[in-house]
């Protein structure tokens, strides 16, 4: 059931992104996807295994759902966000940022409510800060790659 929910969500977001005009170069999309994977996986492992702030569900279908969410849905949502924001003016990007954070915090709230993982010592209000830090790290890594790509493609 939970896998179906997340799979359906991913398909809907994936199809929507696939049919819309891309503003990012394909190299940038790949870069963003991989940098999100690297940063977010490290964050999740450190907070669950080392700091015991979260706890994954013991049931394997639930666990694989959370893996699927981490590998596909979260990077897809963030890439989609960057793709939409890239054509906007810088101040508009910062205005829209809270909505991006709210969306990811909402998704996290859903996973907790569906018992995919539970908070141990984590406070819910830390989640927006977590996503803000992720957005900033991804944003500045992407800017670095983008400038490099522009030089090589010029």
């Amino acid at each position: 059931m939970v896998l179906s929910i997340f799979f359906s969500l991913t398909m809907i977001v994936g199809i929507t992104y696939a049919v819309t005009k891309k503003n990012l170069h394909i190299f940038e999309i790949l870069f963003l996807w991989m940098i999100i994977l690297i940063i977010h996986h490290n964050f999740v492992t450190i907070t669950t295994v080392n700091l015991h702030l979260f706890r994954f569900a013991d049931r394997l279908p639930f666990y694989w759902t959370i893996v699927f969410e981490r590998v596909v849905l979260i990077p897809l949502l963030i890439v989609y966000y960057f793709d939409r924001m890239v054509v906007r003016r810088p101040y508009q990007k910062w205005v829209w940022l809270p909505f991006g954070i709210l969306l990811l915090t909402g998704l996290e709230y859903l996973t907790v409510n569906l018992d995919l993982f539970s908070y141990e010592r984590w406070k819910f209000w830390w989640s927006p800060i977590e996503w803000l830090v992720l957005f900033l790290l991804v944003h500045y890594s992407w800017l670095w790659f983008r400038s490099r790509l522009r030089k090589e493609m010029a």
Binding site: H25, A57, V87, R150
Partner: protein, 175 residues
């Protein structure tokens, strides 16, 4: 603790440090054959694939193997993700130079997968990996898949770069 230090600084730590240094040494001396942005994406693919796998199946509740000294996440674990990156670069560098086609391509994938299994066997001997429910045959299957995706990704990126007239340039206004 946020990131654990090594329990003992021994064979596994030296294996990671020496292999990373020696592995990346050739990168600085090899003539450039394609843009650095392709190399960056190849290294990132290798690192993100390793992280994705390890952080999915090497932690509870799956927990098929341990990396380095502890079942928790050590700072040396992070460096271990760069172990395979120089060989991933070498694989596509030689692929670009030799351009194996047809059955030679199959032989190329099998050959590099066997190399990776051999390299993993060596890292198991040095206690970088401690298998619980995993074995080298599982690794071989994974390397076959990952090497194929990795080489196909390189071909795609190279082709995309060559056909750059068709690609959308990142515009300066977008930042």
């Amino acid at each position: 603790m946020f990131l654990y230090p090594p329990a003992r600084f021994d064979a596994n730590e030296w294996f990671i440090i020496l292999n990373s240094l020696l592995g990346f040494a050739w990168v600085f001396f090899a003539p450039v054959r394609y843009p650095h942005s392709i190399s960056i994406l190849i290294v990132m693919f290798c690192v993100s694939a390793a992280i994705m796998m390890d952080h999915a199946i090497a932690i509870p509740p799956v927990d098929m193997y341990d990396i380095n000294d502890r079942p928790t996440y050590e700072w040396m674990d992070f460096f271990s993700y760069f172990l395979y990156a120089p060989y991933a670069l070498l694989c596509v560098y030689l692929y670009d130079k030799l351009d194996p086609k047809g059955l030679w391509f199959t032989a190329w994938i099998i050959g590099w997968s066997l190399f990776c299994v051999g390299y993993e066997w060596l890292s198991v001997q040095c206690h970088v990996f401690t298998f619980k429910k995993w074995n080298l045959m599982h690794s071989f299957c994974m390397y076959l898949v990952m090497t194929t995706i990795h080489v196909q990704l390189f071909r795609y990126l190279r082709k995309h770069f060559q056909d750059r007239s068709e690609s959308v340039f990142p515009s300066k206004t977008a930042e």
